[in-house]
């Protein structure tokens, strides 16, 4: 069972990371929009999955599908890139952009998760 869980997490994580990297590669900007976008979308998706799993009454995705989805959200969203980019904005004197980045990732993503919860419930 642990082997299966590990494989599913790895598959979800790999897909999430690739989706994030491809998105970031095509989204070249002075502001880290791509990181915010993946974090908001990933938070919303996780909220949706969790609400969906909680209201499981048949016809809902199997445990394995949930594991892949949770693996995907974890691999798709990233805290490390957010922290790195915020620090870089601060270092280069872009304090206002750094603050905006913090609010977007740490506050707006909470709202995105909550929206996902409502949509999935």
């Amino acid at each position: 069972m642990i082997v299966t869980q590990t494989m599913l997490t790895a598959a979800g994580g790999a897909m999430g990371a690739v989706a994030r990297a491809v998105l970031a590669r095509h989204c070249d900007s002075h502001f880290p929009w791509a990181t915010f976008l993946v974090n908001a979308l990933g938070s919303m998706l996780l909220g949706f999955i969790i609400a969906h799993a909680a209201g499981d009454t048949g016809g809902a995705p199997s445990l394995n599908e949930e594991l892949i989805a949770v693996g995907f959200c974890g691999g798709f969203t990233t805290f490390s890139a957010f922290s790195f980019q915020t620090l870089r904005l601060l270092h280069t004197g872009h304090s206002a952009k750094a603050c905006a980045n913090i609010v977007l990732n740490l506050v707006v993503c909470l709202g995105a998760f909550w929206l996902g919860l409502i949509a999935g419930g």
């Binding site: 990371a17 990297a21 974890g74 805290f79 620090l87």
Partner: protein, 133 residues
């Protein structure tokens, strides 16, 4: 053709790193002490932030595929903002506003310090110092 090869290698490095990072995170969650449910996520994000600072300071000094694997793949897959959002919203819904605020503040401040520490440690490494001269 060369561009396609570079792009394919980029995807493979990200996928491998993302898979390893996600598995490492899930297994670490299982063994980390969790006095409060949000603490393991905080620890993982701080470790990942330290690592990305350390790795990205090596940019230009090691092969770019290694940077892609370690920073975009592993650190990105290891750290997670979706679980941070999940736990913070749950704390708010349970009325534990102080813990929710502590989670947001600690996640932000400690990860920023961790990135700076990772960068500082890498900058102290003799092989990076030597090449900069």
């Amino acid at each position: 053709m060369k561009r396609l090869k570079t792009y394919t290698l980029f995807i493979i490095c990200v996928a491998l790193g993302g898979a390893l990072g996600s598995v490492a995170r899930v297994h670490l969650f299982a063994i980390l002490p969790s006095p409060l449910p949000w603490v393991p996520t905080l620890i993982v994000n701080v470790l990942g932030a330290f690592l990305i600072g350390f790795v990205l300071e090596h940019d230009g000094h090691v092969h770019h595929h290694i940077i892609t694997f370690a920073a975009i793949g592993f650190c990105g897959g290891f750290t997670t903002l979706s679980h941070f959002s999940y736990q913070t919203v749950m704390l708010i819904e349970q009325g534990l506003h102080l813990q929710a605020f502590a989670n947001i503040a600690l996640s932000l401040i400690v990860t920023l310090i961790a990135v700076a520490a990772g960068v500082a440690l890498a900058a102290k490494l003799p092989h990076l110092k030597r090449r900069r001269r």
